[in-house]
């Protein structure tokens, strides 16, 4: 879904960060802008600066130059003011899950924010129901599978009913079923609650499933493209220059075109099915 | 064996109770002394280094029950106040695994934290002079372990009268127990020579300890060298260089 309200809640203007080993990441090129209700993905190869950008949004890093505004404040100085509005799912969820059991971990943030226990419990219950975590809520966290841990981390992030959800490579290491579940959960949250997403990805095939606005990042933080996935993938037939592969569907339909079967350039399975079906029906007539 | 984890039931009540009181007092003072923000920031590191020490104690290196302590390297990385709290946590968790007694957590903490605290200060002191990580780590570890073993011997020696009582207390107690008349006579005979022999205890502990100090010293040195190569910032040596 796309809500073109044009109310930007995140704006990053050419920031520079230097790591202790002197690696310099300069997130420049285009301004990084996120509007309310959008599902924004940042696609780029490993080490191009995607996580650095997210850490700046969370106030975990202080930029050397440039500016970062999230909900109108500089997160490196005033993150406390906006932290209840932001949920985070980190790349390594193991270090994010801190409660002894699933239920405790989901209660972690509400109790730390001083929410009264009964209300905190009802918030936890509601998120447990919405993510179908009832069967594992009493489990000790180190006995969870990778997919379950991601869901628990997501539940811990959603319990405070954030307006913005930041996810760092949420699909890495997940099996196909868990991946599909997570995509579905995220899309429902976006549609029903209007939660804005910013996520980093390197799985090109997943982009069309979960993205309204796509940023391409390469080199050391070069934000070079912004647009809808179909626009970007349409414009860039060769993604190798970004150290990325084309989506599988793009490759397939390109191959079909070479064989004289031009169905267009679908990016999602359902679109592809419709296109092929239409052609099939037309040919039958 | 660089140290022993004192078990339950060996030391007199007054001794382990004093150990608890001193350890709790020191722990409470440190919790108050360390700034709240500093504690919040360093809690995960405290937990992680405590976990590393627990895992070190759980991995037996050679089949003589030898395991590494990692207290000195943890002390160097955590600093003198947090290492005390870490050893308190480690001793409680180890005691739950039957590794060291529950009643002697206080004493075990005091003894083990000597290694961490002394190791930290010796490491920095030696580094100021030698400027080489490997010999400095070895020296600091070896001396810290030697002192902690001496402290342990000191603690054990304080219980002399209690051991005497245990040796001579066959007929007292809540339940009377007689193995046989012959045995009782044998005990009577032993009682004559049944004196506490701390010298024998020390003569067993020190050579065993020496092997332990060497092994732990070597392993800590190699670990220190590895960390120095990969993450020198963790050793906080900038102030010694400048």
């Amino acid at each position: 879904m796309t809500i073109e309200q044009d109310e930007s809640i995140v704006k990053v203007d050419c920031i520079t960060h230097v790591y202790p080993d002197m690696t310099k990441i300069q997130i420049c090129g285009l301004d990084f802008i996120v509007n309310r209700g959008e599902r924004v993905s940042i696609l780029g190869a490993n080490g191009c600066g995607k996580t650095t950008l997210l850490k700046h949004l969370l106030g975990l890093l202080v930029p050397k130059d440039g500016s970062v505004r999230v909900f109108g404040v500089d997160p490196s100085k005033e993150f406390v003011k906006i932290r209840k509005k932001i949920g985070v799912v980190m790349q390594d969820v193991d270090e994010q899950i801190l409660g002894p059991t699933v239920y405790d971990d989901i209660l972690f943030a509400p109790l730390n924010y001083g929410i009264e226990k009964r209300r905190a419990e009802s918030m936890a219950k509601s998120v447990i129901e919405s993510l179908n975590l009832e069967s594992i809520q009493k489990k000790i966290v180190h006995y969870l599978s990778g997919g379950e841990k991601k869901k628990v981390a997501l539940a811990g992030a959603l319990v405070m009913e954030p307006e913005l959800l930041i996810l760092d490579e949420p699909f890495t290491g997940l099996d196909p079923v868990s991946r599909r579940d997570l995509i579905q959960i995220l899309n429902v949250l976006n549609q029903e609650k209007g939660i804005t997403f910013i996520m980093t990805l390197h799985e090109v095939d997943l982009v069309p499933e979960i993205t309204d606005i796509l940023y391409l990042m390469h080199g050391h933080g070069n934000l070079s493209e912004r647009g809808r996935p179909e626009e970007i993938f349409g414009r860039f037939k060769e993604l190798e220059s970004f150290n990325l592969e084309e989506p599988t569907l793009t490759k397939l339909f390109k191959g079909l075109r070479r064989e004289g079967l031009d169905f267009g350039d679908p990016l999602r399975i359902d679109e592809a099915v419709q296109l092929i079906k239409r052609h099939w029906d037309e040919n039958k007539k | 064996m660089s140290h022993i984890h004192l078990p339950d039931g060996v030391l007199p009540v007054w001794l382990w109770a004093s150990g608890y009181i001193v350890a709790i007092l020191v722990g409470a003072i440190l919790f108050r002394w360390i700034k709240k923000e500093e504690l919040t920031r360093r809690f995960p590191l405290l937990g992680m280094m405590s976990a590393i020490m627990v895992l070190g104690a759980a991995v037996e290196i050679v089949p003589i029950a030898y395991h590494v302590n990692l207290t000195v390297i943890s002390g160097i990385l955590l600093g003198p106040s947090l290492i005390f709290l870490a050893t308190l946590v480690v001793n409680l968790i180890l005691a739950l695994f039957g590794h060291g007694g529950m009643t002697v957590i206080g004493l075990n903490t005091l003894i083990l934290s000597i290694e961490g605290i002394l190791g930290y200060y010796l490491f920095h002191l030696f580094y100021r002079v030698l400027k080489k990580v490997a010999p400095v780590t070895f020296g600091a570890t070896f001396i810290a372990l030697l002192i902690s073993t001496l402290a342990m011997i000191g603690v054990v020696s304080l219980g002399t009268s209690h051991y005497k009582e245990l040796m001579h207390h066959q007929e007292g107690g809540i339940f009377k127990f007689h193995l046989s008349q012959e045995e009782e006579e044998q005990h009577e005979g032993e009682r004559m020579e049944g004196e506490v022999n701390l010298r024998r205890f020390v003569s067993i502990i020190l050579p065993l300890g020496f092997i332990g100090w060497l092994l732990e010293g070597l392993i800590t040195t190699l670990i220190g060298r590895y960390i120095y190569r990969l993450r020198p910032d963790l050793l906080n040596l900038e102030k010694e260089i400048s």
Binding site: D92 | D8, V196
Partner: protein
């Protein structure tokens, strides 16, 4: 090390009468065992206590391999017999005291999940200490995976061989160095996460700190 996670697994997954007992009852029971260790003076008393604890141990369906864990403190107890003139009474007394203590704690840990033990202790211990306990336990299981992988890699790549003791010692030390660096990296990530989730020096269990 394997026993460490196995004990935890037993506490969570097994279901005996002892598993179902409340943690408060078990901890109070453990305090009584410790009291007995301090107060009892006769061998008969200790044999009786050890017999009872052994019965409890096997009634709680704890596998026999865990029993070896209760014998571990004997290694340290052996050193104490050198204090005496090797009197059988003293040796038996010391061994039984040590065995009663160790079987008691292992019984407690193998039948009670750690959050229950820590949160029960939390009623008397200061909350920062209980938080440190929770974070340490969580960290143990984060690091266990790294340690196991490193151990396997050492083994599979010939990193530990009795024929090359010096090289093996270097490899083992490097493995610990690797574990420490990974642990510190993980603690930095944990710190970020704590900050983002509003951590105020407390970990809650069932809504209690």
């Amino acid at each position: 090390m394997i026993q460490l996670s196995y004990l935890d697994y037993l506490a969570v997954e097994r279901n005996s009468f002892f598993h179902r007992l409340s943690p408060e009852v078990k901890i109070i029971g453990m305090i009584f065992v410790l009291l007995a260790i301090v107060v009892l003076k006769s061998l008969f008393g200790f044999f009786l206590l050890y017999g009872i604890l052994l019965t409890f141990f096997f009634l709680s369906r704890i596998p026999f391999r865990i029993f070896s864990l209760t014998l571990y403190p004997l290694i340290f107890a052996v050193l104490f017999i050198f204090i005496s003139s090797f009197q059988i009474h003293f040796i038996l007394l010391i061994f039984l005291k040590v065995l009663c203590g160790s079987i008691g704690v292992v019984l407690l840990l193998a039948t009670t999940p750690y959050p229950l033990i820590f949160s029960t202790l939390g009623r008397v211990l200061p909350s920062p200490f209980v938080t440190a306990l929770f974070l340490t336990y969580r960290s143990i299981f984060i690091l266990l995976n790294i340690l196991e992988e490193t151990q396997h890699a050492l083994y599979l790549r010939g990193g530990f061989q009795w024929r090359h003791p010096w090289r093996s010692l270097i490899n083992i030390s490097n493995a610990f160095g690797h574990l420490i660096i990974k642990g510190i990296d993980a603690s930095e990530k944990m710190n970020e996460s704590l900050m983002l989730r509003g951590f105020k020096n407390k970990i809650y269990y069932r809504g209690r700190s």
